[in-house]
Point group: C2
Amino acid sequence: MKHTKIGLVGLGTVGTGVARILLENRARISRACGQDVQLARIADVDITRERNLNLPEGILTTNYEEILNDPEISVVVQLIGGLDVERKIMLQMLEAGKNIVTANKALIATCGKEIFDTARKCKCSVAFEAAVGGGIPIIAAISESLAANEICSIEAILNGTCNFILSSMEKTGGDYSTTLSQAQKLGYAEANPAMDVEGKDATQKICILSQIAFGADLDWTHVSRQGVESVRGEDFQYAKSQGYTIRLIASAKRVLENSLEVCVGPCWVRQGTQLAEVDGAFNGVSVVGDAVGHLFFYGQGAGEMPTASAVVADIIDTICGRTAITFNTLNLWNDETCGKISFASPDNIKGEFYLRLVPKNAESQEEIIRILEENEVLVAVTLPNLAGGTVPENPAFAILTNETSEGTLCSVLNSLEQKNLLQQKPVKMRVLR
Amino acid sequence: MKHTKIGLVGLGTVGTGVARILLENRARISRACGQDVQLARIADVDITRERNLNLPEGILTTNYEEILNDPEISVVVQLIGGLDVERKIMLQMLEAGKNIVTANKALIATCGKEIFDTARKCKCSVAFEAAVGGGIPIIAAISESLAANEICSIEAILNGTCNFILSSMEKTGGDYSTTLSQAQKLGYAEANPAMDVEGKDATQKICILSQIAFGADLDWTHVSRQGVESVRGEDFQYAKSQGYTIRLIASAKRVLENSLEVCVGPCWVRQGTQLAEVDGAFNGVSVVGDAVGHLFFYGQGAGEMPTASAVVADIIDTICGRTAITFNTLNLWNDETCGKISFASPDNIKGEFYLRLVPKNAESQEEIIRILEENEVLVAVTLPNLAGGTVPENPAFAILTNETSEGTLCSVLNSLEQKNLLQQKPVKMRVLR
């Protein structure tokens, strides 16, 4: 019977989950692979920490080169996190002929082309189901199950931290900073939450999905991105009054033949819809394909075991041979498609928007509305002032616009700022239909 | 470049969708297959009907043997429906060395072992993603993406006709037969709706999922099954009064090591949960795995293009080689697992139930409740009589039980009937938690 040895680099939260599944269910995993599978070596900088895991004697090493240089190890699971070290090791592993399984969305979003080109050159594969949506098999779905479709759009909740914060604010009426502290206490937000709350994590993930769904090689740092730090209790009250709630939505949508609307930011989402019902740290992905219509996927987007479930699925696919096939036919980040699809111009991105504006003084409000209307940002509803929501020295008001373009709206908001009509940066959220 | 020829048997609704995708998107499908793919021949008994499809000259035949005997056709898509003819042709195709793609749930649920044994003998594969959940890639998810998990349970809405009827009754307050007629007029129910409304279709589908998730080879005709014909407007009113709605749920759950609780029937589902929010002819599947936790999948469970999306995904998987790998490692309906997992005894199936009972006369109600309580079917709530819901000559009453076993409940309900305390067969629905 064939036999495959696996090396694991990085024994953090997800790595521990992966080791647990491979060690405790070796017979089942081997059956799924059609051959005996052995977790042979684990490298981590810290090999003394207690992980509540029964590891075989001598499996741990602090030196990843023991995996790199072991010719019997053909599959390497890389779960270090971060960019530079993970990239360096991954390129070395590929050059040494190892097939890679990773959960590192930052690396794939940032160095996708380099890694995939190297893998192609070395006749290896790279699998990364766990990089987007944790335990939700969204990458397999888009790359394989929906292969008959042209994908029209993806709208997704891809960051559990932001969703935990927003759904807590929705329920408790708490403000952003109190809710963030509580999320940190409960382990749903990192001590340094910047990657999450600034929307960077969700942006990297939607860029990875855009490569698979549309062949778009996007620089994630160029995506129109807004975090959740500016969301206030008032915004939820306004949203609720119109039958909406607020979620951090990462979306990608084909606009013209070769251009893509990609945005990440807090959006108004109609209550009762599936995205609105995604609660706590869960993730949800809504996909529209030209044949299949609307599909929705929901599950835990992070955490030891859900993410490990996706990593081990990739390990199985790699060992039994499915990954090699998909890697070749899907041919991600290839020279032909890269650079062909670009960001849609803001003038081609249409939508309705919620705006919360704090005028310089009572007179400015009329002037602001006049300027909006003059510039074709038509005001559909001026939302009623909230009881207690505005204080005399900070008389915020909120409106919903009719359909306008992102480009028009941004230039009008800029001009309001330049004309010194606002006390604060305006808050703007797309309204999902 | 390699080249694969496909034969299609059955040009009905789904077959037309499949032909449309293959003919209109040949370049894209070929790219996904890593080789040129050609729909070479289509067999159907009716080759004159207008299908709004641009077919290549001479592609149609009324004789499926032209596909069977064409050595260049290596993949056959069988979309005839029904049992006997489809079975006969499929076995012939396998013996001739063709790989099969089918959407026929009745055939797979009824003759799974025979078909898979034949395919193994002939070194061919059988793919059937479209047999369950239409466009939702639930079979790929359970067989591949969740391969690291032991599946704990599946709770699903798998029949669009029943869900259309129930969600219409919920909204309009209409009765069953009016709603069924309306569903027939709109094309959501067949002229003879028995397979759907009696829950047979959903039962075949949950049995197929049980084979994949649990290795259970179940006789679908032995599953505890209830259709939607007995659901009345009153049941919705009672459910609503307690924060629930009603959906036809097909479920399979591991109870003990080698026994499975499999049920199909109308259930109380808490409002606001994902299954409750599945509306109209859509399908939804909730899966719990030991590592991944709770996942939910939603999409169109039927219809020309959504089902064709799943069929074409199978065609691509078959041609590029993924299906052969999965077919071998998954090894469905194999001799080792078949017969190992059986239905849980009703005494081991625990749950809470909604009961609507029509006592023989006013005095019987107290007697009924006394007998229920005596037999450990504890009454949690006696639901208030509905205004207009009961008429003097038909004084129905409804209760919610505490946790009891299916076995106990059935024997008590039988004894109530034997004691002649009921005017009608009791209506019983599980309450999902």
